[in-house]
């Protein structure tokens, strides 16, 4: 075995994140690490790389016990890692990020030119053609993710760990990443791969280990498992099959009355002017590649960015939505893509996060009575199955998926007529994924209209009545009725893009 972990334990105040976990990684395999949100995957990885100090347990690399006290020691041992949340430093240049800690030096000083060359060399094979002397932060999330992977790959002499590397990549980039990973595997590296996309696991991995509530459940060969059994391991119960695969009947929503109509909404350099009509109880999907302007469209609708042109009206006349406050007043809601920076208020409790938007709308002079707050919080914790010890726990201590549910709860509590969800299931486990889809359906059945942005076309097809396709910051096509299907979306995007069409 290349890497063996024996009875590793780690506790945080109030949580036992890892409970005597064993894990084996062979050279030349891709090993998936799976589990629900909060199962302890990231914690295991951080203990392994010295980012956290473990409470107990043993780690052996090539048979010798190792105990990296810091991530730099882990890097020296040949363990390269792409972490889940925080990856690289947006204020440094791409080259600086890539070469960090191994900068080429001349006379003791960093040689800028050699550094840039080295960075370009590292990026070769990833199909990125970018100026490595610019700030990393000026590039899109996808580019940043690829850079992080390139850095980790370069650092990994023996082990490469990828914690949800594909969450913000689109299909083409995922394919490229897989090629890189397979190549490394063939060169004898051990690779740990964390993902909530089970299809990717089945496609790429040789073996998998499932964690649940900090305990190791099983390690098996991927070939010996099927999807249902795997999900059973992860959740500890069978997933209601009906939910995961339920087909949606868009027919009803097509007849519903129009409640909102946006015309010519746009902003130069952001999104070209577009029209959007919203019917009662319908789910509109926004599909497109990374950087196609989906988030920007949502931000224009919710007033996060001010639209230069366009109007919005409902049955009663014009609707003001130039700022988030106005949008909220008009009955809109918006659960943003980056929940960490735009969604949660980390130090506030789950209860306070849930009532925040409602309180903002009531104004500061009319505080929501404490009993009412508690009632609301308990209601949504139960309704969305939010896993928290109690409503007073700071939301920052919840796992990612549960944070996402709290943000959803914040808006559901407002009962908006038009709710925008930007990547509502990013980084969310299969169980929660299914729950959120079910929730979307419940809410629309009750008459709420939604705009859902997602990079997973399957998910869009499952949820949406109608899909708007974007390309190059322009709304290009609308798919309705039977057109709402994965291959149709792919075709719509590709048709408009000759390069993509040629590739496929």
């Amino acid at each position: 075995m290349l890497l063996t972990i024996r009875s590793l334990s780690k506790s945080f105040p109030g949580t036992r994140a890892l409970d005597a976990v064993d894990f084996d990684l062979a050279a030349g395999e891709v090993h998936a690490l799976l589990g629900e949100n909060g199962a302890g995957k990231s914690t295991l990885i951080k203990c392994l790389t010295g980012a956290y100090s473990r409470d107990a347990g043993e780690i052996r690399l090539d048979g010798a016990p190792v105990s990296p006290a810091s991530t730099s020691e882990a890097q020296e041992l040949g363990i390269g890692t792409v972490y889940q949340e925080v990856n690289l430093l947006p204020n440094l240049t791409v080259a600086q990020n890539l070469t960090f800690g191994r900068e080429p030096r001349r006379f003791g000083l960093i040689d800028g030119r050699a550094q840039a060359d080295m960075a370009r060399e590292m990026l070769r094979g990833y199909g990125l053609d970018i100026d490595v002397t610019r700030d990393l932060g000026s590039y899109s999330v996808a580019v940043q993710q690829v850079v992080a992977i390139a850095r980790a790959v370069a650092l990994s002499g023996k082990v490469l760990i990828l914690d949800e590397p594909t969450a913000s990549l689109d299909a083409a980039e995922v394919r490229m990443l897989f090629d890189v990973v397979r190549d490394l595997r063939d060169r004898g590296l051990g690779i740990v791969f964390v993902s909530h996309f089970l299809d990717q696991v089945f496609e790429l991995c040789d073996r998998l280990t499932v964690l649940r509530n900090g305990q190791k459940i099983t390690t098996e060969r991927v070939a010996d498992l099927d999807r249902v059994k795997l999900i059973g391991h992860m959740l500890g119960r069978e997933l209601d099959d009906a939910i995961e695969t339920a087909e949606h009947s868009p027919a009803a929503a097509q007849e519903a009355p129009e409640i909102l109509r946006f015309e010519g909404i746009g902003r130069a350099g952001v999104v070209a002017p577009f029209d959007l009509s919203v019917r009662r109880g319908e789910v509109i999907g926004l599909a497109g590649l990374l950087g196609s302007g989906r988030t920007e469209s949502a931000e224009l609708l919710f007033g996060v960015r001010t639209a230069q042109t366009g109007t919005a009206r409902d049955a009663d006349g014009p609707v003001a939505h130039a700022t988030p406050r106005e949008a909220v007043r008009a009955g809109f809601g918006f659960a943003p893509e980056d929940r960490k920076t735009d969604g949660i208020v980390a130090d506030l409790s789950v209860r306070e996060n849930i009532i925040l938007a409602m309180q903002a709308r009531r104004g500061w002079t009319r505080p929501i009575p404490r009993a009412e707050q508690a009632r609301l919080a308990d209601e949504y914790i139960a309704k969305l199955d939010i896993r928290t010890s109690d409503a007073e726990k700071p939301i920052g201590e919840l796992s990612g998926g549960n944070q996402q549910k709290v943000v959803l709860a914040r808006w559901l509590a407002m009962n908006p007529r038009f709710l925008i969800l930007d990547e509502p299931t990013r980084g969310i486990d299969v169980g929660a994924h299914a729950e959120i889809l079910r929730l979307i359906r419940d809410m629309t059945d009750a008459g709420m209209s939604m705009l859902v942005i997602s990079s997973e076309f399957d998910e869009l097809v499952a949820a949406a009545d109608r899909i708007v396709v974007l390309r190059d910051r322009r709304h290009t096509r609308e798919l309705t009725g039977a057109e709402v299907a994965t291959d149709e979306i792919v075709r719509a995007i590709a048709a408009a893009d000759p390069r993509e069409a040629a590739a496929s």
Binding site: T71, S72, L89, N91, G101, R105, T133, R134, D135
Partner: protein, 321 residues
């Protein structure tokens, strides 16, 4: 060749400084003499040196309020040592730099080890250093040592009778050294990394504790060096000297285009920030009509003007991009 957007704040700073100098020159033609230029360097030498240390601290997302007191302490320490012992000034300098560096390192250790905000730790450090200088002496102590006379009289007479003094040159050297350390060493890269986000920096392999200690030690060293320069400049040690210099240094760093939140900026920008502050001072002296209170108001207004101009300029370039 397009300009890298990273450079915009720096270019804005330099541009504004040049424009301001031209405005001053139009009003007082004498401003363009080598005398004024030399004075600008000499008079702000101590500020420039301490601001280089402050730049690194701010780049890391911290702040160091103790530097003004440390400068005063340095002067008093040197003066008292030279008065009471027979040590050679160079030896005293070495001793002093060891003391101030250790002092800075200790503050860094407390900041990191106890996870206390730099603002508060260095505030306590400010009280402590000032208090320590009172305990050495409460009087101003003149420095009379032949070696000091040598240092004081070391200058190159530029054409036009301006003086390029040793301490002015020392400041430029300090800026150059600071720039190399910040932008061309691994330590500097780690400073930027911590400023960009401590958590991320740690995951990227930065030894945050050691680097934090190093950063404040560097600032302490620079404050000590600045104290030496200040003692050469004034030829004395005075426990009440340089009250509030930390705020001037912070302002200079910010005008120089470094973000107070850390992670972005240039040491060379700080030089221009310092020169800008010096230019404001010079302009007010040249004007010579402002009362005590109008002096304060005008300094504040000019400071605001610089910051607004800088922000405006950056916003315009951002829109263009």
């Amino acid at each position: 060749m397009t300009v890298n957007p990273r450079l915009y704040p720096l270019l804005a700073t330099i541009g504004i400084f040049v424009v301001a100098y031209i405005v001053c020159w139009l009003q007082f033609p004498y401003m363009l003499s080598t005398r004024v230029a030399g004075n600008l360097l000499t008079d702000n030498a101590y500020l420039g040196i301490v601001a280089v240390g402050m730049t690194l601290v701010i780049l890391s997302g911290g702040i160091d309020l103790s530097v003004g007191s440390v400068i005063a302490f340095s002067g008093v320490f040197i003066a008292v040592m030279l008065r009471d012992t027979g040590l050679h000034p160079l030896l005293v300098f070495a001793l002093l730099l060891a003391v101030t560096t250790a002092f800075g390192a200790a503050m860094g250790a407390v900041i990191h080890g106890l996870a206390m905000p730099a603002f508060i730790v260095t505030l306590a450090g400010m009280f402590l250093a000032r208090g320590a200088s009172y305990m050495l002496t409460i009087e101003s102590v003149p420095i009379a040592h032949p070696f000091y006379d040598l240092l004081k009289d070391a200058y190159w007479l530029m054409p036009g009778k301006g003086r390029l003094t040793l301490i002015g040159v020392l400041m430029l050297v300090a800026v150059a050294a600071g720039a190399l350390i910040a932008h061309r060493t691994r330590f500097g890269a780690q400073v930027f990394a911590i400023g960009g986000g401590e958590q991320t920096a740690r995951l990227m392999g930065v030894r945050v504790g050691a680097t934090t200690v190093g950063i404040y030690a560097f600032s302490g060293f620079m404050a000590g060096l600045s104290g030496i320069v200040f003692s050469i400049y004034t030829g004395s040690g005075y426990p009440l000297a340089t009250v509030g210099t930390e705020l001037t240094a912070i302002a200079a760093v910010v005008i120089g285009g470094t973000l107070l939140t850390g992670g972005a900026g240039y040491v060379v920008g700080t030089l221009f920030g310092v020169l800008t502050m010096g230019l404001i001072q010079t302009y007010i002296v040249f004007d010579g009509t402002l009362s005590s209170w109008w002096t304060k108001i005008v300094i504040g207004v000019l400071l605001l003007l610089f910051i607004l101009l800088q922000r405006g300029l950056l916003r315009v370039t951002a829109l263009r991009a």
